[in-house]
């Protein structure tokens, strides 16, 4: 067995290796318990640091940060200016809070939680199985008040397992589940969004072990979740998006 470079051991922890390279390292670690122990400790550090600082993401962003403008407000006595602008700026700041902070973060969190609850389920992962897909889609469409589609992900190796209806803060949620040949599951969470119709770019959120890509398209929010690498999930998210917006 050829020795493994230190850099590769780190890459192994940080998730940047191909499957073949991972297998090589795993073989190496089986016969080198000291390295295995060291890597286990490094991986634990990653997890601890994330649990230490991820809560910052859920804090509301201080208004002072949202009010930073091109041309550096602060230099011109920001406080006076903000008072002068009064309601106008207040309204803007409020708008930014709603559109960029509170909704997306909690939306990704809700989707990740639904994923974490249903994806490991062995006997009852879905309420309506894929062999009744037409019924499932009609039912969920009626409940959400729109024409839903269950994206076809078979070309990417993911088959529809089925779906279920969930309840979310904005009312009913459609939840579709997919699975690949190795049992890896992805879920698509679709819910109506409050407020004006709008479109957003893809956003990514890491919620513990669950990766989530989410976006808003018109009146609906979409979140694709899975315990897979970000790049892999992005690939699927792009296909989902294209199928929903032909």
């Amino acid at each position: 067995m050829k020795p493994i470079a230190e850099a590769e051991l780190h890459t192994y922890i940080d998730g940047g290796l191909s499957e073949n390279a991972r297998a090589d390292i795993e073989a190496w670690l089986r016969s080198h318990p000291e390295d295995a122990e060291r890597l286990r400790a490094y991986a634990e550090q990653n997890a601890l640091l994330r649990s230490l600082y991820n809560p910052v993401l859920d804090e509301p962003v201080p208004a002072a940060l949202l009010a930073v403008h091109p041309g550096a407000w602060r230099r011109y006595a920001a406080v006076a200016v903000i008072f002068a602008l009064g309601i106008g700026l207040g309204w803007m700041v409020r708008g930014m809070f709603i559109t960029t902070q509170i909704v997306p973060v909690s939306f990704a969190r809700l989707a990740a939680t639904a994923h974490a609850v249903y994806a490991p389920e062995v006997r009852h992962p879905v309420e309506v199985p894929a062999n009744e897909e037409d019924h499932l889609v009609r039912w969920l469409s009626r409940r959400l008040g729109t024409n839903l589609k269950a994206p076809k992900l078979a070309p990417l190796g993911y088959d529809l397992v089925g779906g279920r209806l969930l309840s979310g803060p904005q009312g009913p949620v459609a939840h579709f589940m997919y699975q690949d040949g190795r049992g890896q599951r992805l879920t698509l969470y679709v819910s109506r969004q409050r407020g004006e119709p709008r479109d957003t770019a893809f956003r990514f959120s890491q919620e513990d072990r669950v990766s989530v890509f989410y976006w808003v398209d018109g009146n609906f929010g979409y979140a694709l979740s899975g315990e897979v690498r970000r790049e892999q999930l992005l690939q699927v998210a792009e296909v989902v998006y294209k199928q929903l917006n032909p």
């Binding site: 230190e6 850099a7 780190h10 890459t11 940080d14 940047g16 060291r38 400790a41 490094y42 634990e44 550090q45 990653n46 601890l48 640091l49 994330r50 649990s51 230490l52 600082y53 991820n54 910052v56 993401l57 804090e59 962003v61 201080p62 002072a64 940060l65 949202l66 930073v68 403008h69 091109p70 041309g71 550096a72 602060r74 930014m96 960029t100 902070q101 973060v105 770019a201 956003r203 890491q206 970000r230």
Partner: protein
């Protein structure tokens, strides 16, 4: 549109700043200075390139400059302080406060690399761009930082390089 692009990154900039400097208010000041600078230099950003990495680069520069201004010696690694075992008994659940304390004991250079990799989950290449250091330096800082944290959290005493008077 441009404005929204940057605003979307604020929560992550805050997370990184908090982890980097520790104190909430100092961290938000760092974010504010970073945002102002980002706005003033926004014309330098190439649309389509990684905005988040670009913002981290700016934050790094602001952080280093502030540190210099305050005559706070970043370069002076905490290697000079004898390490104290923070873990009372082996096998116990690691406490988050211990992790934070150990993180603070790293040099700022090592802390930046560890946080960008572990918390912000940047690739080594993105870290190398953001901090403007060669990838080999990223790897050696990462490796040293992780090993140091492991030894401190594992309760093993690290031999100090220099003893503080």
């Amino acid at each position: 549109m441009d404005r929204r692009l940057i605003i979307e990154h604020i929560p992550r900039l805050r997370r990184y700043a908090r982890a980097l400097v520790g104190d909430r208010y100092v961290a938000d000041d760092l974010v504010q200075d970073t945002l102002e600078r980002a706005w003033n230099k926004f014309y330098l950003w190439r649309p389509g390139s990684d905005l988040r990495a670009w913002l981290f680069t700016i934050m790094h520069n602001v952080f280093v400059n502030q540190a210099r201004r305050r005559r706070y010696e970043i370069e002076q690694a905490m290697d000079e302080i004898p390490a104290i075992a923070v873990r009372a008994t082996q096998g116990e659940q690691l406490e988050l406060q211990d992790v934070e304390r150990v993180l603070r004991s790293l040099s700022a250079e090592q802390r930046e690399v560890v946080l960008l990799v572990a918390v912000e989950q940047l690739t080594y290449e993105q870290v190398s761009h953001a901090l403007d250091i060669p990838i080999g330096t990223v790897m050696s800082r990462l490796s040293r930082a992780r090993e140091r944290m492991r030894q401190l959290l594992g309760g093993q005493t690290v031999m100090p390089l220099k003893v503080v008077k």
